[in-house]
Amino acid sequence: MESALFWGLATFGACWLVHWGVWRVRAPKGYLVWLPTIFWILPLGCTALFWASRDRLPPTETDWFVWILAALLHVMVSSCYICGYAGITEYSPSAEVLLAVREHMPRGVPANELRVRSFTEYCLTGRRIEDLRSSGLVAVHDGRLHLTRRGGFVLALSRVYRVLVGVEPTGRG
């Protein structure tokens, strides 16, 4: 377990350093391609190269167990990081609400006087519509927006998931 924990966390740490290095040079726009490449394909390639480049004794059952555990831990931690990366780039309105209330502590602020200066309308909606268009989920015809087939599929998937998990079919945004 000790080796599995070490190798799982060390692999994640090494991949994170590569990610940090790439981002310090220039943060790429398509992070959904870059991050899985850095966190999943790169360690897979390195492991394959390592095994191909030298003669080794065949791994024992314990070796396999440690590698599978380390791989599971790395995949889980890196999946969390990749999912959470949206929170790094997208900014959370909830967090901005809390930061706005914090400015008025300890007296608090009347709910109807709360002003959240951060975020422009463009940042909240305009840019997101651009994202939806560029990912092929929404199309524009004669200045009108409509769902593409892919967009309809994503929406249906979200509804099915929510119904199965026991909540109302659409979230409140």
């Binding site: 377990m1 000790e2 940090w20 981002w23 943060a27 059952e61 396999w64 167990f65 599978i68 555990l69 599971l72 831990l73 931690v77 999946s79 969390c80 999912c83 959470g84 929170g87 790094i88 959370s92 309105p93 909830s94 967090a95 609400v97 809390l98 209330v101 008025h104 608090g108 602020v109 009347p110 709910a111 709360l114 200066r117 951060s118 975020f119 422009t120 309308e121 463009y122 940042c123 909240l124 909606t125 305009g126 997101r128 519509i129 939806l132 524009v140 200045g143 769902l147 967009g151 994503v154 929406l155 979200s158 998931y161 998990v165 026991g166 909540v167 659409t170 979230g171 409140r172 945004g173």
Partner: protein, 200 residues
């Protein structure tokens, strides 16, 4: 591999599904007893129950007289793995619940051939902020007392501060653009398809 190893691997592989089923079970039970389900709390409750189950399973499968370091490493491993599963379970739910991208899809799906103006009339900064306050009250991050809002919880704010630190580390802008600073890309974006993307 020994049966204990197989049991552990299977438990780890099944953990995401078990956590998801636990979340659904809590929500459906809450509905059955006519209580309003708090899905975010259900995600965490199911996740942490699963985390506890993984740690207990690991301890049960250990042979007696195991090395203390090995035990501690195993407990830490299981906790880290269980925490990640909890986060992913909560994240998937949150995407369908609070993601603005998904909500825009819902709005466009409700009314096909909607114009940009109609869309921003329905879903804009005001409605987005208004939807967040009840949720923050429900999560115990805010308190409403005689019409005034007070900061009470800390974990959402703490995660916002951690994210800001990560942004700095990665060389990204630490805070979103403020209302009085229009993004330079607006005109460029507007020109690309003729939609009025900004409301200055």
């Amino acid at each position: 591999m020994s049966p204990a190893m197989w049991t552990l691997l299977l438990a780890l592989a099944a953990a995401p599904v078990v956590t998801w089923l636990g979340t659904a079970g809590i929500n459906w039970t809450a509905r059955a007893v006519a209580r309003l389900p708090s899905p975010q709390v259900a995600c965490f409750a199911a996740g942490f129950a699963n985390l506890g189950g993984l740690v207990v399973l690991f301890l049960v499968l250990q042979p007696t007289g195991s090395n203390r370091r090995e035990l501690l490493a195993g407990i830490f491993f299981m906790s880290a793995y269980g925490f990640c599963v909890t986060f992913l379970n909560w994240f998937v739910f949150t995407v369908t619940d609070t993601s603005m991208h998904v909500h825009l899809l819902v709005e466009i799906g409700h009314e096909p051939e909607i114009t940009f103006e109609e869309l921003t009339h329905r879903y804009n900064k005001k409605s987005i902020i208004a939807a967040r306050i009840p949720r923050l009250l429900q999560l115990g991050q805010l308190r409403l007392d005689h019409g005034r809002l007070y900061l009470t919880g800390s974990w959402v704010l703490a995660s916002a501060v951690a994210l800001r630190f990560l942004r700095r580390l990665l060389g990204l802008r630490p805070r979103p653009p403020q209302e009085d600073t229009a993004p330079a890309s607006i005109d460029h974006a507007r020109g690309s398809h003729g939609l009025p993307l900004s409301r200055r």
